[in-house]
Subunit: 190 residues, 2 copies
């Protein structure tokens, strides 16, 4: 809904910012799945709040502080992390409209460094990438993602690479996107 002065009302749900529907569906699916994991005490994985640079704050009353000016910041780590069976879990989730490849400008240099670090430190690290045209969601393990980066100069990862070395996440009713089932398979039932 657009207002005359160019201010746009947006909806948020717990911890998550949605505007222009960007990344909305995958994010919602993951949030629902994580809520299911938490309720069933299977894993404790959360989306981090969106990083924001706050520049003006208003204190109309002691009780209520209002942020009057702030800016979105580039994230320096991935969006999701937590614990699963004692293991550190860390991943980034992205959707793409492309039918043929995943554009690498979706993931910034800080995030790539973070993925390298977590992988080296022994964490379970991966990307969750949805090709919206096919409604197909893949896990690409950090090892395979970094292998691609280290052996290619391409600006995108072809969908065929996901088909070859990625792992499809089956959509279910509950939980919506059972990515830990895939992680169990990949890691041989940790």
């Amino acid at each position: 809904m657009k207002y005359p002065n160019g201010v746009k009302q947006i909806k948020t749900d717990d911890n998550h910012i949605h505007y222009d529907n960007r990344g909305m569906t995958l994010e919602r699916d993951l949030n629902d799945t994580n809520a299911f994991y938490i309720d069933s005490e299977k894993a404790f994985i959360y989306k981090k709040p969106t990083p924001i640079q706050i520049t003006k704050v208003d204190y109309p009353t002691r009780a209520k502080t209002v942020i009057r000016e702030a800016f979105f910041k580039e994230p320096s780590t991935t969006d999701y992390n937590g614990i699963y069976r004692g293991h550190y879990i860390d991943f980034e989730a992205k959707e793409t409209n492309s039918a043929t490849s995943f554009p690498l400008n979706n993931i910034n240099d800080h995030q790539i460094r973070h993925i390298r670090n977590v992988y080296s430190a022994g964490g379970i690290c991966f990307l969750v990438v949805r090709f919206k045209k096919f409604n197909t969601t893949y896990i690409l393990m950090a090892k395979d993602f970094l292998d691609f980066l280290d052996h290619n100069d391409r600006k995108s990862i072809p969908k065929t690479y996901f088909d070859e070395v990625g792992h499809k996440i089956k959509e279910k009713y509950i939980p919506r996107l059972d990515y830990l089932e895939v992680i169990d398979d990949v890691l041989g039932g940790i």
Copy 2:
């Protein structure tokens, strides 16, 4: 710096919101320490961005989005998490002005539940509490924190409890607050 209309300019540094100096010193010490750990590839632990509910966004140009109205939200997890030698690390950091006890209203029910969950799942979980009057900073392991909650109706944890079952963090030059040294000791050099 106060402006006539009650809007106050605040400083932020990477990922962190400071106003009224609340929790500033301990937070800065931990950020410096975490930056040192990351640089030396010892551990990858970050402060989560402050959770915010965004209600109005302005798009003056395609390039720059400005948040015009937002509110601070209660955190549902702890402030810091990450990975250390393959282990999931999770903690909350608080300062208190009290000379005698740590008020439990510093930590909300969601956070206590999160600490229980992480502890049960085998994560390394703890509080970092600074008694400002003494400039003394303790680690209180989740087990000892939860033990206290489960066996007391008090609204605060006496400082004597920190002296008995907590672990003092020695202040150094670099890193400022080497809390992983304490964690190594407590866990017998994981």
